[in-house]
């Protein structure tokens, strides 16, 4: 299992180090020798900090780009993830479950952000006591333990906020929650107003050939919820999943089923938050759960069939002699004209030897950014079923570089107020038998947002 966990800043200095197992050769950050001569400072070299140093030298200070997130140095394996300038590294000497280690590192980042916001050097330094406390709790002898922020916050509190001694009942309640079946929610939550926010967030990914042929397209979506519900409510979530609707259609055979059948979508695969009863989904394909309190991601899904591609990009690149390029890009919006897309940005890459660019666009603003080697064209809003175009003349410096320009794809960013996969929420029912509120009393908000993922057209 995980032998140790280190957090480094961008210079490779250790901010946090927690060692779980001796085998990783870290007599590490502690000075080994007893105090023989306190006045003479020890040279650093005599401190045994093998693992810590090895990672710094071989990965953080490595000249090359990182070639793998797993590094093996002297039979010790290092897993790392990077968040802004901060490196998180897990170290082990055993044949650990690698997927688990990475999942844990991400989880660790989530937990830390939930406690003190952005993971930055300053925040880590200011909260080092808290981080040690967390590391002690969520990783025992290298085995990940309960890492749900909701549960952790009940007994790992920021310094000083909650120092009165909890009563005995409270204590045992905490422990039973941390270890219990519903480790993500505590009992006795009360709200005056029971409210639910449901966001369907989709990112649509596309790779298109210059001729307009879809090479690959998929939507990866997330259902993100914010629940402010009292007690231990049982929720049931339904959407226009093709399998469910077909099943119902067979049973009822009503015209409604036929109608909705048209709008149902085929979901390639989905994954759920641990609160969802997977065995029930597997047998009945119904999504039922007791929600965590506050923010969480209920499910992720992926679809590849019948995707609405909100924009189409039509590139036209012409080389005029050796020193000039003519580029024309047309974008077409492909959705109901009553809807508005926002934050549209088209990025047209330019060759490295570009000396000047002349731009003409009918809508929005376009700029050539030499530092990014790209023309960035921004449009604030655009309605559906419209078309817009930009043309550019790119002047090139003559080079003797044999290698041709690689022509990176034209990429696009946007946000649309619908789900490109066609997913619709059919219902979200709340049952709380013990408290006196019913499904109707809960205020529910549903919102659909479609964003561009990697939306590229080759040119």
């Amino acid at each position: 299992m995980i032998g140790g966990l280190f957090i480094y800043n961008h210079k490779g200095e250790v901010l946090i180090s927690r060692v779980y197992r001796d085998d990783i050769g870290e007599a590490g950050l502690k000075a080994e020798q007893p105090i023989i001569s306190r006045s003479v400072p020890k040279p650093v070299s005599c401190l045994k900090r093998n693992a810590v140093d090895a990672f710094r030298v071989n990965v953080i200070h490595a000249r090359q780009q990182v070639r793998s997130p797993v590094t093996n140095i002297a039979r010790t394996s290092f897993f790392h993830v990077k968040r802004s300038n901060i490196w998180l590294a897990a170290v082990t000497k055993q044949n650990v479950n690698a997927t688990m280690v990475f999942e844990f590192l991400y989880k660790m980042c989530d937990v830390m952000s939930a406690y003190f916001g952005k993971i930055s050097e300053e925040n880590v330094k200011n909260n080092f006591v808290l981080i040690y406390e967390l590391l002690d709790e969520i990783l025992d002898f290298g085995y990940p333990q309960n890492s749900e922020t909701g549960a952790l916050k009940t007994f790992i509190t920021q310094q000083g906020i909650k120092s009165q001694v909890p009563t005995k009942e409270e204590q045992s309640q905490i422990t039973s929650q941390v270890t219990g079946q519903i480790g993500w929610r505590r009992e006795g939550i009360k709200y005056r107003r029971n409210e639910l926010f449901l966001d369907v967030l989709e990112s649509v990914n596309l790779l298109m050939s210059p001729q307009g042929q879809v090479l690959s397209a998929h939507v990866s979506g997330r259902v993100v919820m914010k629940s402010y519900l009292s007690g231990m409510p049982e929720c049931k979530f339904g959407m226009n999943d093709k399998i469910v609707i077909d099943k119902q259609g067979k049973g009822g055979g009503s015209e409604e089923a036929a109608k909705s059948g048209k709008q149902s979508i085929a979901i390639d695969d989905c994954t759920f938050h641990q609160c969802v009863r997977l065995s029930k989904f597997d047998s009945e394909r119904s999504i039922s759960f007791i929600p965590p309190d506050g923010d969480y991601e209920l499910m992720r899904y992926r679809t590849t069939k019948d995707i609405i591609l909100p924009f189409r990009v039509i590139p036209l690149v012409r080389e005029v002699g050796r020193t000039k390029l003519e580029v024309k890009v047309v974008i077409k919006s492909n959705f109901k004209s009553s809807l508005l897309a926002q934050k549209i940005e088209v990025r047209i890459p330019t060759p490295l030897n570009t000396s000047g660019v002349q731009l003409i666009c009918m809508k929005g603003k376009a700029k050539y950014k030499a530092s990014e080697n790209a023309i960035v064209w921004k449009i604030k809003r655009m309605a559906g079923m419209k078309e817009s175009q930009i043309s550019a003349e790119i002047e090139l410096l003559p080079t003797n570089d044999k290698k041709k320009w690689a022509r990176p794809p034209i990429s696009m960013n946007f946000e649309v107020p619908f789900a490109p996969s066609g997913l619709k929420v059919r219902y979200l029912k709340v049952f709380e038998p013990k408290l006196n509120y019913s499904d109707h009393d809960v205020i529910k908000w549903v919102r659909y947002i479609g964003r561009s993922g990697i939306y590229e057209t080759r040119c």
């Binding site: 394996s77 688990m100 905490i174 270890t179």
Partner: protein, 932 residues
């Protein structure tokens, strides 16, 4: 702290200040002081001097302060063991605290203090905590057992903690179960042979129940543990699969991959024609694809695993090619892995798309990636024949770009394409030759030279081209030099008239001016060939080359099987077995996929091979058994269709049975023992010696089998019988060392003849051998004579003379021999059975009178009868054949058309065996009786 390395010691003044604060009365001040201490500790300053002061702060009811002090203790206790004892009292007291959080904290921290003296005090509190009423404490205590085991394994066993831990598997709380499973799995890993994690259907059921309820991490522990279980039959396997499949929709990729591992493993046992098998295959694809939308690091791990899965079961993802298309912004490590999988999935159906993509990639920025893409195009050509033409033209397009490394890479792959499709695409040679000058990498130069040499007759100026390389001959790398030498010799053989001078030149360069032995050797060989017999030279040098195979970089099947059992772990990321990167014994035992259900018509065989602990069948009497064996022998089982799985020892046995003749009986009996590790075999075939009637004197029992061998050794030359070599120690079990061997009696000396084959990547040296005590006191008469190190893929033959003066212990079966072989890597154990005939001594000829007397003395119940069928020898031939193996014919009598041979033999330990052989036309009947 790296900026100021010399401040790693806090100056004395600061220490003094901290000391004062730590001893202050105010709680807040104390806490601040401890925090400062921890901060200094984190940045690498030495604050161990404050140990007593910090420990004094331990007795507090403030949980936060306590945690800080514990943190300090974990860091410094090891360097100050004596002072650490001071803390023990508080720990013990905290373990009794009414607050479960404190109890758990105390037992957790105590386990982290790796000081021997403290562990003694840990036992009592740990015992209590393991039975604590609070699940939080129990789950912490479960992990603590693993910690303690790491420090002092003996103590944990003596104190009976392992049993308590086993009980926790039945705990009512799922998280306790999960942690207990994790702890037990880890402990079991360091005791490969212990039956610690006694997985049986009941415990499996408990684990599957807990699986639905525990945290994501707990689910991973349980799934990883489940993967080590071998179900009894396909039905059990299916029911486990059914209960594991819902995990494929978990948000945590580690849960998903661990579930995939369980399914991939258990699927091996499901018959392929089962509906469920197909359903399962279909269910596996979507979750694997979903893993590719995770964070890049997870994508990388997933892709490495998918690479394995695709090699094992290509059908799962064959329709999912598109998801592996590279995105422009993917990190380079993801791009390279995707490319690998694209090639594996390439088929006639999708080749057009793949090629278009690959061409696109070949214009990207990253050099490694571009090279790999070019190489991939070549591999597509070799893999999908229909696409070869298109691939070649794509490669030509790329060569036209004149980007140096693209051109070189393209030439290297085109060479392979020429090898695969000879005489098909030679029209491109002209284009290749144009780029001759730009090649600066040895591999590309060598490839180009090979092409020129191979097609010398079609290239008009081949001699000029090769000559141009010759100028800088000494500056070339060996690879190029060797290739150039061969190419010029080829050229000479094809156009002998114009190139005499050239070949002289290269031969003298290679033989006289070079100090590379390989080059010199090759030079001399060619020289002599050419000067003695040019025709022979032509036959050798221009011989037809074997075609190259489609998939060149497949992982070796046994390794692949092992890696499939390690899906999700580091081993699957490195594509290496755990023993390659884990030190010590931990996790080194090899895992294997369970035996496949095999053919539909022999389901029993398959499942018997899968379950290794099948109890040996009770066999009523020997004669019947032998009859059975022979029946098997004569009426081959109908399992001719499906090829036997390599892991199934049973089917190998069956194959041998088909091999024919009585000879195979020997092989069979030996296989039974030699396969050693597979008791299933022993149960089926190796059983005769063990199932002897109790009244029968032991020495004969083994002998009986072998007598038949002798009788039946039809095609054998005269002389002592020695069974063919069989594999005693498979390479899988011995880190690449494979030992096969046999026993023989040569000139009165018993010899163990072995072939040691090194199938690992490193050189093996320092061989030694030892025997366990055995029935006849066999022992090596000298050391194992392996003088030279055995290189990778090299074999060595050794004959080890044996003496019979070693310590004696009765073995089951009687002729079983347990052997230990040591080399520079490790010690390996195996067992083998020797033919008893090798123990028959030369002076085994009894006096006629003595024979008659003893024959009469033998009580009838010491007599056993056997039939040998299908032995077409007349009595004389049989007796002379047997004499070669020191079975002597004392008398011969003819009664009622039957020949009766009376024979005697003597074992090395002085036991006499007497036998009567009755030969009737084609159906000899044996009667054997013994004296001891």
């Amino acid at each position: 702290m790296c900026d100021f390395p010399f401040f790693s010691l806090v100056c004395t003044g600061e220490i003094f200040e901290l000391k004062a604060e730590l001893n202050s009365d105010k709680k807040e001040k104390k806490k601040e002081a401890v925090k400062k201490v921890i901060a200094s500790m984190t940045v690498g300053k030495d604050v161990s001097a404050l140990f007593p002061d910090v420990v004094n702060c331990m007795q507090t009811d403030n949980l936060e302060l306590k945690k800080l002090v514990y943190l300090y203790l974990m860091n410094y206790a090891k360097s100050q063991p004596d002072m650490a004892i001071m803390a023990v009292n508080t720990f013990v007291k905290d373990c009794e605290d009414p607050n479960p959080l404190i109890r758990a904290l105390a037992v957790r921290t105590m386990g982290c203090i790796r000081v021997d003296k403290i562990t003694e005090y840990l036992c009592e509190p740990l015992r209590k905590c393991l039975k604590d009423e609070d699940p939080y404490v129990r789950k912490t205590a479960a992990v603590c057992v693993a910690k303690l085991h790491d420090i002092n394994a003996q103590l944990v066993e003596d104190q009976g903690f392992l049993d308590t831990l086993k009980d926790l598997i039945s705990d009512s709380n799922p998280m306790v179960v999960a942690n207990a499973v994790a702890a037990l799995s880890e402990i079991a890993e360091s005791h490969p042979n212990s039956n610690l994690l006694d997985l049986n259907p009941q415990t499996i059921n408990k684990l599957l129940t807990a699986l639905n309820e525990c945290t994501e991490w707990g689910q991973i522990f349980i799934l990883d543990c489940l993967a080590n279980y071998t179900p009894r039959d396909d039905r059990e396997s299916q029911s486990i699969c059914e209960r594991v499949t819902p995990r494929l929709s978990h948000a945590n990729s580690a849960v998903v991959l661990s579930a995939v591992k369980v399914l991939m493993k258990f699927m091996e046992m499901l018959p392929k024609d089962l509906d469920y098998y197909g359903t399962l295959l279909k269910k596996l694809a979507p979750p694997l694809v979903t893993l590719l939308s995770a964070e890049p690091e997870l994508q990388y791990v997933a892709l490495r695993n998918i690479n394995l899965i695709v090699q094992r079961r290509p059908e799962i993802l064959k329709h999912e090619m598109k998801v592996f298309f590279v995105k422009y912004n993917d990190p380079i490590y993801v791009k390279l892995e995707k490319l690998d999988i694209m090639i594996r999935l390439a088929s006639q159906a999708n080749i057009a798309q793949v090629l278009a993509e690959l061409k696109e990639y070949a214009t990207e920025v990253d050099v490694d990636f571009v090279r790999k893409a070019v190489r991939a195009i070549g591999r597509c050509a070799i893999k999908v024949e229909q696409s070869a033409e298109r691939c070649v033209s794509t490669l030509l397009d790329l060569i036209q770009t004149k980007v140096n490394y693209v051109v070189q890479e393209a030439i290297v792959v085109i060479k392979d394409i020429f090898r695969k499709y000879p005489n098909k695409y030679e029209s491109v040679i002209a284009t290749l030759c144009e780029n001759l000058d730009s090649l600066d990498e040895p591999e590309a130069r060598a490839a180009m030279i090979w092409i020129v040499g191979e097609y010398a007759e079609r290239i008009d100026n081949a001699d000029e081209l090769l000559e141009s390389f010759l100028e800088g001959f000494h500056d070339e790398s060996t690879q190029v030099q060797l290739q150039l030498l061969t190419a010029i010799v080829k050229l000479f053989l094809k156009k002998p008239t114009e190139t005499q001078e050239l070949v002289q030149q290269v031969l003298s360069l290679a033989t006289q001016d070079s100090d590379n032995p390989d080059l010199r050797d090759r030079g001399y060989i060619y020289w002599r060939l050419l000067s003695t017999d040019p025709v022979a030279a032509k036959e050798v040098v221009l011989a037809e080359k074997p075609l190259i195979s489609e998939e060149t970089d497949l992982i070796e099947p046994t390794l692949l099987e092992e890696l499939i059992c390690h899906i999700g772990t580091l081993a699957s990321v490195y594509h290496k077995p755990p023993s390659a990167f884990v030190e010590g014994s931990r996790g080194v035992q090899h895992k294997r996929l369970p035996g496949s259900a095999g053919s539909a018509d022999s389901p029993d065989t398959g499942s018997a091979a899968g379950v290794s602990e099948a109890p040996p069948a009770v066999i009523p009497s020997q004669g019947d058994l032998l009859g059975d064996l022979l029946n098997l022998d004569l009426t081959p089982p109908t399992t001719s269709g499906p090829p036997p799985a390599p892991s199934s020892g049973m089917q190998m046995g069956a194959m041998d049975l088909l091999g024919g003749g009585l000879d195979s009986l020997v092989g069979l009996l030996h296989l039974g023992g030699d396969l050693g590790g597979s008791p299933a075999m022993g149960a089926g075939f190796g059983a005769p010696p063990t199932a002897m009637p109790a009244s029968f004197p032991p020495p004969v029992s083994g002998g009986l089998d072998d007598l038949f061998d002798l009788g039946g050794s039809v095609g054998m030359p005269m002389g002592a019988y020695s069974p063919p070599k069989s594999i005693w120690l498979p390479a899988m079990k011995a880190k690449g060392l494979e030992i096969s061997g046999t026993f023989a009696r040569r000139a009165g000396v018993i010899q163990m003849e072995m072939t040691l084959t090194n199938k690992a990547m490193s050189i093996m040296t320092d061989f030694a051998i030892q025997f366990n005590r055995n029935s006849f006191g066999l022992a090596p008469a000298g050391p194992l004579q392996v003088l030279t190190p055995v290189g990778p893929n090299q074999s060595i033959e050794v004959a080890l003379p044996l003496s019979t003066v070693g310590p004696v212990m009765k073995m089951e079966p009687l002729t079983n021999l347990q052997v230990a072989v040591k080399n520079n890597i490790d010690v390996f154990y195996f067992s083998s059975q020797y033919p008893i005939s090798m123990l028959f001594v030369e002076d085994g000829k009894m006096e006629r009178q003595v024979f008659l007397a003893t024959w009469k003395d033998i009580p009838n119940d010491n007599e056993a009868q056997f039939q040998i069928k299908d032995c077409h020898l007349n009595s004389d031939a049989a007796s002379s054949k047997l004499q070669g193996s020191n079975v002597f014919t004392i008398a011969k009598r003819t009664v009622e058309g039957q020949d009766m041979l009376y024979q005697s033999m003597k074992l090395t330990n002085g036991i006499w065996v007497l036998a009567e052989l009755r030969v009737q036309a084609g159906n000899p009947n044996y009667t054997v009786s013994t004296v001891s």
